[in-house]
């Protein structure tokens, strides 16, 4: 069996002149949580819709579990559960009836309904009409729908969209718990902090192009460690630091420069010797956000 749960080869989607996704070669490994990152409109949802066969690719192909989606759509989708963008459920039906609807289409027994409701912690509201659900509850119901049939691959497109902080935390904890149950997860988001907390792998898409993909650990290692210094008087400090460290710059009253732990002592001595008061000095590891901003081309 292939180690790649999702593989796209030159996947492209054009809308007239506009290229929404361009020659995307995505690779999602079995057992991973793949964070699919990109700004709004970067092409994440279009790519996901092509992976699920909801929209047709202009060019390229999608492989799931090593097999072509085009040729084996039914057999492959049996192993896939998905939540695409907005939560979807029939508002006039109860949560349980919505799950029954999916059970019928997937040909799976109703006894799985209680299991998935327990996983998403929605058993207490199963008989309530969905139109009376909060957004967070709808989101969890959509995830429950995706979990029916115990799929090996879960595709969650912006699963925390529109949720309040506690809702976001609930969904995050839920996603983090799933790989232990054998799921591979592709989760798309424009919230970098979210992906940073849950993903093992990351793919960055910008203007339809996949700019980076790989282990999140390797990605964050690419970044530089920065030394942050807060001191006064600023003018004198700026002059002194610029003479000794040409890469230094001032942002929001904070001097920043690439450096290592060993240099902190040296910098502190220099400042103190020149009668500059230090209010704070610390090392900042690059986070996903700064790396993401480094990877994507700057806006004109």
């Amino acid at each position: 069996m292939s180690d790649l749960v999702i593989e796209t080869k030159n996947l492209t989607r054009c809308y007239g002149e506009f290229v929404a996704v361009q020659s995307m070669n995505m690779q999602v490994l079995r057992g991973s949580i793949y964070g699919f990152l990109g700004e709004n409109g970067a092409g994440k949802t279009t790519a996901i819709r092509m992976i699920l066969g909801l929209i047709h690719a202009t060019n390229g192909e999608v492989y799931l579990f090593g097999q072509s989606l085009k040729k084996n759509r039914h057999a492959l989708l049996r192993h896939v559960g998905a939540l695409v963008e907005t939560p979807s459920a029939f508002g006039h039906l109860s949560g349980k009836d919505n799950l029954k609807y999916i059970c019928k289409l997937r040909n799976i027994p109703y006894n799985q309904i209680d299991e998935v409701l327990d996983i998403v912690d929605l058993a207490y509201a199963k008989d309530k009409l969905v139109r009376k659900y909060s957004l967070g509850m709808r989101q969890r119901l959509s995830i429950a729908m995706a979990l029916l049939g115990q799929p090996q691959l879960l595709i969650l497109d912006e699963p925390t969209n529109g949720l309040d902080p506690s809702g976001i935390r609930e969904i995050r904890d839920l996603i983090k718990s799933l790989p232990a149950k054998g799921y591979t997860i592709l989760v798309s988001s424009h919230l970098l902090s979210e992906v940073e907390q849950i993903a093992s792998h990351v793919g960055i898409i910008h203007a339809g192009q996949l700019l980076y993909q790989g282990e999140i650990e390797n990605f964050t290692k690419r970044g530089q460690t920065m030394i942050h210094i807060k001191c006064s008087p600023i003018t004198k400090a700026m002059q002194l630091l610029e003479e000794n460290y040409p890469q230094v710059y001032l942002e929001n009253g904070l001097f920043q420069m690439p450096g290592s732990e060993e240099q902190i002592d040296e910098i502190a001595r220099l400042l103190v010797y020149n009668q500059i008061s230090i209010h704070g000095i610390y090392l900042q590891q690059s986070n996903l956000e700064s790396l993401f901003l480094d990877v994507i081309p700057k806006k004109q």
Binding site: R49, G53, L54, R73, H74, R106, L129
Partner: protein, 226 residues
Amino acid sequence: MQLLRAYSAEWLRAKRTPLLFLALGVPLIISIFSTPSPKHVNWDFLSNPSPGWTFFILPIGIVILGLLSAQLYSSNHMWKSTLIQPISRSTIYFAHLLFLCSIVLLGFIVLMIGQIIIGKILGLKGSFSFFRVISSFFLSYLASLPMIALQVWLGMRYKGITVPLTAGLGGWIFSTALSNQLPSFAMWHYPLFVTSQPAIFLPISLGLAFILILVGLISFIRMDVH
């Protein structure tokens, strides 16, 4: 098997909606409130679906039922959740078509039973033939298939109600205007014409229904779900 499952999912989806009430209640009301005077009509008249039904209620009813049914998918963003299941698009399409055909058929059955009961209660003159009544209602039902196919196609293809509603109502007005001069082009009135001229209108209806089903199917299979 897949089709049966999808068809049964369609019925589940119709729970707590006005679909069944409209499909069963309206013909019941029509049969009760359009009770004819026994002096003016006999079994020849009540052996066919009431003209009010075939001329007005049925074409408009099919538009409403088609819209309500398709809008349940669109307004709840359920197309995407349905189409990512391991079931073919053609199966989903035929299940939806079959569902709409079924509820329209139920309407015809209710109307037919209603008319028979009323005819019996009134003790209408003329000879009553159960076979004749069934064949007449069934012919009229078959002639309504192109309208059903059109509404299924447009309802599944377009998110909003504008296109299916305009096509349904516009088609009915157009058919009404053409019904005297060019009845063969008056698709929305085939259920009315077919009982008197089955040899002409039945093949036209079935042929047109076949074409519309095919066009709708191809359109649905090729549709991008955004």
